[in-house]
């Protein structure tokens, strides 16, 4: 009666199952603490204790390492987005690292292609470039707007904030337009047969007569 136990071919020899090792304490390995040839006793020699000087050097090393890791030179990839908002998130301050562009260094020591990462970009040129492109866009969009709403968005005195407001306004106007004018989907062009009155239909000879 070796149902469920071993292979049953040789009744004298049985494989030790996991249940037996739990219940009877049998194990194919020796008991814990027993000596075996595969795992001989090994005398672990502890290293000599650190002297005062060595501890001091180790402390200096740790402080230096910590300073480097918190400096602007330790480049970390951005943290992955959190999947779930947790209660403890409020206690973790978002650490904002300084950029390399704020670093006071001699740029002449670096090749030209790396200067973009070390020098702060001036924003004047950028504003003008953005403005000139959007100014045309504003003009085109302004032609669509109503005269009442049309703000004077062209002109050399417009600021970036005005332009942003202008963009927001444009966006709002577009929404309003959509809401006001509606869309083609409010009206259905197709007759789906719901309003048809079956009784009004003329008799058709297409299919045959009535029975």
């Amino acid at each position: 009666m070796s149902r469920g136990r071993g292979r049953g071919g040789d009744g004298n020899r049985r494989e030790i199952s996991a249940l037996q090792t739990e219940l009877l304490g049998k194990s194919i390995f020796g008991k814990y603490g027993e000596k075996s040839s595969g795992f001989p006793e090994y005398d672990i020699v502890a290293g000599r204790a650190a002297t005062e000087e060595e501890r001091h050097v180790a402390d200096l090393m740790e402080k230096f390492r910590a300073e480097m890791q918190s400096s602007v030179f330790c480049l970390q990839p951005p943290a992955p987005a959190r999947d779930v908002e947790r209660y403890s998130d409020r206690y973790f301050k978002a650490t904002t690292r300084q950029s390399l562009k704020g670093l006071k260094t001699d740029v002449s020591l670096f090749p030209d292609e790396l200067h973009s990462e070390l020098l702060k970009k001036s924003t004047k040129g950028k504003k003008a470039a953005v403005y000139s492109g959007n100014g045309l866009l504003d003009a085109l969009k302004g032609a669509k707007d109503d005269d009442e709403e049309g703000g004077d968005k062209s002109g050399s005195d417009a600021d970036k904030t005005d332009k942003e407001d202008g963009d927001e306004e444009l966006g709002d106007e577009e929404d309003e337009e959509d809401e006001e004018e509606g869309n083609d989907y409010l009206e259905s062009y197709f007759e789906n047969g719901e309003e048809d009155d079956m009784g009004d239909l003329d008799d058709d000879d297409g299919g045959g007569g009535d029975y």
């Binding site: 200096l60 970390q76 990839p77 403890s88 301050k93 670093l103 090749p111």
Partner: protein, 595 residues
């Protein structure tokens, strides 16, 4: 370059600069010189990330750049230096050395410069808020900075320093060759190269140190003098008067008298970086002093220390093989008053110094023993010098017998002696005392047959053979074949065992690199196992109120700090071994010249 060395460098860079810089360094170490486009293809990082990583590496002197033509276009090629990366592991030793010699002010200045890579003194002043300090502290700051620059702990940086050295030398060579009307011969080319290297040496040895602007005389009052020597934590004492090469530094003031102080002013706008080659010289000298202290006594160590301090002025890097000549009188003048010379050597039976009374009986010195007279001091120093220069290591040699004698330090012999001692300790630790004894016998007796080795070490032949093969497998010893017949039949050859110093050094370095790599990995594992706990300590509420941590958590943090300290101490010990085995050897320092 070894596999273990590359793995270690990647770990060090990741620890200090993060994963982005590590990726760039890994590719540069594997592939060699690359330009931006090639780096982008191989690292798969974005352009801005690669540029930032390269900027960080150049800022810290790890990477260099050079313009080179590839086809019709000019590219900027970047390469990294293994030596500069491995130096980051020695930061603790460098900082401790600077603190010992320059005090806590010097330590703060030097650490700021190390963290920033290269920076101006003006930026250091801002970082340490010197403007908010008192007048005396500002004067102390200026004098410490001047001393750091004068003694070349920090060195001025110019745009040529970030260009790859090989390219720079080739450019200078090309300029010299252009001046010639006919193509140079091999001899002329060698002479040009020697001239370029000597030019660098002359610039270093010149008394005009780049970065020191002018001398300013400052009036200071005496009541500030006592406050200036103690550091903020009371650890270091600032200047020791016998340390300074010339007497332009600080002078002790008398009570209530105003004195003029000459202070070198350093240019605030000049960029400086730490000069690690010079610091390696100081660390090497410390190892030499430790050797004599261990072998003889503290007095002998103090004497060798004063010899080395006198010669330090002219020793730029570890490539120097022989020091300048030092007379016994100079040693006597420079040795510290606190040096433990009492009981360091017994001169009572020395016939040269023995004094006799009128009846011819020797006069025994019955002085208290706590203070030495000038005469007794000179007696002890000259006797110690005699013992030291006759030491079997040959580190201190006497070059002139005239007068009190002239001495020099042989740094080549010092490097060999220290390295052998270090490797013996490594073998003893790894294999046991019998293997170490075998190694010492082979080193002393040069090439020996197996049977002769067994006789010399008093071991049975089979045991000796096993141990010899263990050492050969570890790369500590090697065999040389001596053929008995013209056909070089292997069965009729003599195989002699000997110590191949080069191979031994490389094997020892591999052990050390692997050990350091394992330590960093273990450190990372211990920290990551407690990642949640460490994250908890960074919470704002826990920072404000540490009582929010439970007792178990506090105990675990202390355990982690203890583990990290032990691992760092082990790392420092391994790095000291690396310094002794490789960095201080003048021959290997020559090989590292182009790195």
């Amino acid at each position: 370059m070894y596999t273990q060395q590359v793995g270690l460098c990647k770990q060090i860079v990741r620890e200090h600069y993060g994963p982005i810089v590590e990726t760039v360094v890994a590719v540069l170490l594997r592939e060699g010189r690359l330009h931006l486009g090639q780096l982008a293809r191989r690292t798969k990082l974005t352009g801005p990330n690669i540029r930032r990583a390269l900027a960080v590496l150049i800022q810290h002197g790890i990477a260099t750049h050079a313009m080179s033509k590839d086809g019709s276009r000019m590219f900027t090629y970047y390469s990294v230096s293994l030596k500069s990366i491995l130096r980051l592991q020695r930061a603790g030793l460098y900082l401790a050395l600077v603190e010992e010699r320059m005090g806590s002010e010097g330590l703060a200045i030097f650490r700021t410069i190390m963290v920033n890579g290269l920076t101006t003194i003006g930026s250091v002043r801002e970082a340490l808020s010197v403007a908010e300090m008192g007048n005396a502290a500002k004067i102390k700051f200026n004098s410490v900075v001047a001393k750091l620059v004068r003694d070349r702990y920090i060195i001025a940086v110019n745009p040529q320093d970030t260009i790859t050295k090989v390219d720079r030398i080739m450019q200078e060579e090309a300029v010299e060759v252009e001046k010639l009307t006919i193509p140079p011969t091999a001899k002329e080319l060698l002479a040009i190269r020697r001239k370029i290297i000597e030019r660098e040496e002359e610039e270093y040895q010149s008394s005009n140190v780049v970065g020191i602007k002018r001398r300013a005389s400052v009036d200071i009052s005496a009541d500030h003098s006592s406050k200036l020597h103690m550091g903020a934590d009371g650890r270091a004492n600032g200047f020791n008067s016998y340390d300074s090469g010339d007497q332009n530094g600080y002078s002790h003031l008398n009570n209530g008298h105003q004195q003029q102080q000459q202070v070198d002013a350093v240019d605030d706008k000049q960029f400086f970086r730490a000069y690690y080659d010079r610091l390696d010289v100081f660390l090497r000298n410390q190892q030499i002093v430790n050797y004599f202290t261990d072998k003889y006594n503290a007095g002998a160590g103090a004497l060798v220390k004063s010899i080395l301090r006198v010669t330090e002025q002219h020793t730029r890097t570890c490539r120097v093989k022989l020091s300048e000549t030092v007379s016994a009188t100079q040693v006597f003048q420079h040795i510290s008053a606190e040096a433990p010379l009492i009981d360091s050597i017994d001169t009572s039976k020395d016939m040269f110094h023995q004094k006799f009374d009128a009846n011819g009986n020797p006069i025994v010195d019955t002085s208290s023993g706590t203070e030495l007279s000038r005469e007794k001091r000179s007696e002890i120093i000259f006797a110690l010098l005699e013992v030291i220069h006759t030491d079997s290591s040959g580190i201190v040699i006497k070059v002139d017998e005239r007068g009190t004698g002239q001495y020099r330090v042989n740094f080549e012999r010092a490097a060999i002696t220290l390295r052998d001692r270090c490797v013996d300790a490594l073998v003893h630790e790894k294999f046991g005392s019998v293997h170490a004894r075998l190694l010492r016998v082979l080193r002393d007796k040069q090439k020996l047959d197996e049977k002769v080795v067994a006789q010399a070490t008093m071991l049975p032949i089979d045991s000796c053979r096993t141990r010899l093969h263990d050492l050969a497998l570890a790369g500590m010893i090697d065999t040389v074949e001596i053929p008995r017949s013209a056909d070089r039949n292997p069965s009729r050859m003599f195989y002699l065992w000997y110590v191949n110093a080069d191979k031994q050094m490389r094997s020892a370095m591999r052990f050390v690199y692997q050990g350091m790599s394992n330590i960093i990995e273990r450190n990372t594992k211990e920290v990551s196992a407690r990642a949640l706990l460490i994250a908890k300590t960074k919470r704002e509420d826990v920072i404000l109120d540490p009582g929010l941590l439970t007792d178990g958590e506090r105990k675990e943090l202390q355990n982690l700090a203890r583990i990290k300290q032990r691992l760092t101490v082990a790392n420092v010990r391994l790095d000291s071994m690396l310094l002794v085995i490789y960095d201080i050897d003048p021959l290997s320092a020559d090989h590292q010249l182009l790195q």
